[in-house]
Amino acid sequence: MTSVATPFFFYFLAITAIVSAIAVITRRNPVHAALSLIVTLLALAGFYLMLYAPFVAAVQIVLYAGGIMVLFLFVIMLVNLEQNIREYQFNKQWIVATIAALALGGLLAFVYRTGRGVFPSAFYQSYRGLEGDNTQQIGVWLYGQYMLPFEIASLLLLVAIVGAVVMAKKRI
């Protein structure tokens, strides 16, 4: 069977992801921005598939594209959009944003230049055999080696849920 990780797919997904990501920040209409974000997330799911992580790709689609973004759109639709589009944007955060973007870009460039030893090109080739039981491996790792970080992450989510309930309900 031929590999799916062809350069064509990579460039196709990369261009889709970048163009839609730019659309996310340039569209004035929040619904358009959210829809572009969905396209970006789907392209990322494609990347996970190319890296032989089908489970992560599926979870990306189910949770992010299908779950979280639906809630996003749900909230955005309740907001009065026409007014938002006409309003003048007065949040002058572009200096901070530029610095943050440059820092992230620098970090990525650094990893790209020096990460060759850390991420050898044969890295995922050695994991190709795991493709079949990828789901199982993730389960074993999450509940074995990475039990503590996993539980801490779920505790964080629990705190967020409790916070949302406290903020939404004045009287419990």
């Binding site: 069977m1 829809l35 089908p54 489970f55 790709a57 299908g66 639906v70 639709m77």
Partner: protein, 426 residues
Amino acid sequence: MIEYIKGYLSTGTTPGEAGNLFWATVYILLVIVGVSVAVLCMNWLERKILAHMQIRLGPMRVGPHGLLQPFADALKLLIKEDIIPHDADKLVFWSAPVVVTMTAFTTFLVVPFGRTHAVTDMNIGVLFMLGVSSLGVLGIIMAGWSSNSHYPLMGSLRSSAQMVSYEIAMGLAIVSAVLMTSLQTGTGTLSMIGIVEAQASQHTWFIFKFFPLGFLAFAVFAIAMVAETNRAPFDLPEAESELVAGFHTEYSGFRWSLFFLAEYSAMLAVSSIAVTLWLGGWMRPFPTWLGGSTWNMAFSFLPALTFFVLAAMCFLGTIRMPKIPQFRIQTIGLGTFGALLGFVGLVLLVPAVSVRVQDIYWFVVKVAFFMYLYIWYRGTFPRYRFDQLMKVGWKVLLPTGLGVLIATALWGLMPQLSAAITGVLQ
């Protein structure tokens, strides 16, 4: 080239696994045509059955017993004017039906109509189906928002709230079925074909496994899937008495028919998930109890028998047609249709064909059962109020799903647990 085409036939896997592009394309086309035909049949059957439940006749004018009604409807929708509201968001309005239809059809990539009768087998099959069908909600939201109108917006708000709530109960029910695949072998699977094979190797359908746990999980799924497809009694997003037609109020003509097509193919898709996970997929009933070559042969006649019964019903209708000149064309048409069905039945009697059709037949019969249930629900249940809907989803289905999941895990670990307890006691 010929070798390439022939080479697949001896592999005994799906075209996707064999990496055969030709057969994959053939299967995809077959699935698209099959689903479209099924939607046409479903359109006619729903009107007819619903009408008979309400002591009406249903469509009778177009063709004998209204058999050509779906075609007339399709033609009408195709030549109707395509209206886009003036203040609508054109691009989103245009792409919403496309998204809905594409996601509804894409889910059929992994539906196993038989051991080799699927486009492909994925090791994340069930998750893939869930994920792609959850993208269908986006299409509904896009449709409701871009129409720039009140009723569609209300409809899509309801729809997104409903789908997000019921997806959780649905996921929990699916997880408990997936858990069952891992019980005897120790390695579970998410692949649709793998799940059916697990049921074959455990000699039971998962609906009967760990009674009543399997049945409870199935019940949770069966309720959640009706809500997920926006059908009665959970059809609040398109409640005609409150919201005109819900999220597709502003759509007309071909775009509206795409929504129709997507709704019905989504119903077929979730029914196939239920059939695959709990009702043994393509397996015939009682493969071990009524095993042996005699029973195998008896069961292999059933596809042909079904078509013969349908043909007989057509001929009965032909005889009962009024004997007046105005009905001559109808009588001839119904007779020809009956003859066609009878011919299909005869073809299915050929051993080479009947062996290959067995799996598909049983899968389709089980899915058809669910489709009948959908119509039955619509004919009998009154619509839920929105707070009742949320109550059922969050306070009944979700706790049941969680409880069933935990109980399934405990039951599955019973040998290890009892061994550990006796170890501690000693």
